[in-house]
Amino acid sequence: MKIILKEIRIIDPSILLNEINDILIVDGVINKIGNISEEEYKESKIFEMKGKIVSPGFFDMHVHLREPGREDEETIETGSNAAAAGGFTGIACMPNTNPAIDSAEVVRFIKEKSLNHLVDVYPIGAATLNRKGESISPILELYEAGAVGFSDDGNVIKSVGILRNVLEYCKITNAPVIEHCEDESLSDGAMNESFTSTLLGLPGIPTVAEDLIVARDIMMAEYVDGKVHIAHISSKKSVELVRQAKKKGIKVTAEVTPHHFTLTDESLKTFDTNFKMNPPLRSKEDVEAIIEGLKDGTIDCIASDHAPHSIEEKEMEFIYAPNGIIGLETQIGLAVSELVKKKHLTIEQLIEKFAINPRRILNLEIPSIKTGEKANLTILDSELIWTVEVGKFKSKSKNSPFDKKLLTGKSIAVINNSKMFFENKFFNI
């Protein structure tokens, strides 16, 4: 099948491309950029894309799919659908499933289940068996089966000794160790420790609980020359630690979630459990430091930490409610509204943080918009003003604090694996 994206702005930062042109895609492969013949226009399905932007497909490296184990909250299919609707052509899924992704069988199960979907799904293997932090998981076997990174996400890798082994062992694969940075002896709380937690009488989790582990991990990565990726960075000091480590050439990268650059712990005043996440929402100062970190490249990428929870689990007394929110379908809107519209990042920088850097961290091939390449594309309307309607989300869970929020910027289509998602429908191209 032939389709043409007409008069679209093409932005591909990895090849320094930024131009308005027509793209001809034939059977899922980029056939021509410009110079399209009259005949080809006649034969093709034309998508009028004036004012829209096409970039390499966006990738979310931090998603919880809940399958296997909690298919009532999300499945590989519904999570992938949510990713496509949110503007993503690839995702990495975290290993805190049941069973955990600590055996090749589970990796293969996920790969098989995600086959034939528009969205590519890459499992993150557990760093330790059952994410318990006691003994390292079969990393090479997991890697061979398709795992692209290793993490005990949801938990920190408990002991430094195990962390060292994981970092060293992972070097054979060049895959990063993705750390959920939280000192567990300091993190027995329900929100950020601050004046607000004092006012609300909620037990606090101090930023130093994160900073200590970020410092520990950086030191260990330096010592063994390993690769560590800091998941969902949330504190000012942690951003500074990563910045300094990068200057020294230590192999550390970092991601941030949209909620950590959008919201502060003041939101908790409503006691709405949709504001309960881990790491918790921090202070205005932390948010500002995170935005600085995004601007100067200290923070490499944006990831949702999409964490589906059932209504009955989330609609609970505050201290008992589980942490986390869904984010796949709001994150582009939040990033454009908070970062691009407020002139913190250019659209090119945003595309780097969403399409290029996460794949680079996970050693995945970076799609580019060139003749002969497979079409792996995200199409954005960066001016579209829309209202979040959680009820219409593809995700099986609805735990989002952004319901009814007005956002600017949305993905209107994605293309990958000879499939297109457009106007709320998947179809083959």
């Binding site: 004046f195 009488g201 909620l202 006691f271």
Partner: protein
């Protein structure tokens, strides 16, 4: 005169007029409690549920008695198991209770924010009887009532809250209420028990109990709550008593005029010596009596709102 809210969720942001109205109304009910027949028909026909998700003797009995004195119909729902373990969600429990047509819910819960949450899922008047480490507004009100009864005013008084302030809902309600009424509020305790940013509330922090006793008119002495893991924040009860305990010797040497309050239950020999607990400086049992009157006032004012 009427209150500005149909709920009592906390004392944070409650206007001075409301607090004054509750304290004035409580005075009337305090007189009722001295009569041979201590019952008035004010809330006849009203149904009140005491929804207690956490162990409580004194607060629950005090509320129940206040309700009975006002001739309301009272139901007690007590459980120390959380809804998560019980299988039925908190919301379902509340909906079931509400389906029985109740007018008011008095709630105590381990989690901060539960009273706020209740206002979203129920139409009843909600009274917070203690939520997590957050607020315990009727305790704050009865403390203010008792101080005022004894000293004749609140404005300009120096009141210090002593103990595990960070893990006390009594402390926050006292701070909010007393500040609104014009008192100067301070806290005193080991640094591990002082919550972060408390000075932003205009609260002074004393590190030494001697200073707290010397410079204040009133000490509100909190219970060291071993059940709330106080053991991780102090080395031992003995050390706590030696350095922060309220003793007759300290009072006599430093400030014999001081008034001692304690929300109970007392740990004798820990935060307060037996001698002080039973002695001339304290009004601990008056607080208990006043608690019934203050709760009658709150129930009456909320229960008769239109």
């Amino acid at each position: 005169m009427a209150l500005s809210s149909k709920h009592l969720l906390g004392l944070y942001g409650v206007p001075k007029e409301d607090i004054q109205l509750i304290l004035d109304t409580a005075r009337t009910f305090r007189e009722v409690l001295e009569r041979p027949i201590k019952k008035v028909p004010t809330l006849q026909g009203k149904t009140i549920v005491n929804l207690f998700y956490e162990n409580s003797t004194r607060t629950r009995i005090s509320f129940e008695l206040a309700q009975k004195r006002l001739s309301a119909d009272t139901i007690n729902f007590s459980t120390s198991t959380s809804s998560t373990k019980k299988g039925e969600t908190f919301k379902d429990t509340v909906r079931n209770i509400e389906a029985m047509k109740v007018d008011m819910i008095v709630v105590r819960h381990q989690s901060a924010g539960v009273p706020q949450y209740l206002t979203k899922i129920s139409n009843a008047n909600i009274i917070n009887a203690g939520d997590g480490l957050h607020e315990h507004p009727t305790q704050g009100l009865l403390d203010m009532y008792s101080i005022n009864e004894k000293l004749g005013k609140l404005e300009g008084l120096n009141v210090c809250i002593v103990g595990d302030v960070a893990h006390s809902r009594v402390a926050l309600s006292n701070i909010f209420g007393l500040k609104t009424m014009g008192a100067n509020v301070s806290v005193c305790g080991p640094a591990t028990m002082i919550p972060i940013g408390i000075e932003k509330l205009g609260v002074k922090v004393y590190n030494k109990i001697e200073d707290a006793i010397k410079y204040n008119n009133v000490l509100n002495v909190l219970r060291i709550q071993l059940e709330r893991d106080a053991g991780r924040r102090i080395p031992s009860l003995r050390e706590y008593h030696n350095y922060f305990g309220i003793t007759t010797e300290r009072i006599k040497n430093l400030n014999p005029e001081i008034l001692i309050l304690h929300p109970g239950p007392i740990n004798r020999g820990v935060e307060i010596s037996s001698e002080v607990a039973d002695g001339e400086f304290q009004i601990i049992l008056d607080q208990v009596t006043n608690g019934v009157a203050v709760r009658m006032a709150v129930l009456y004012l909320l229960g008769t709102m239109h």
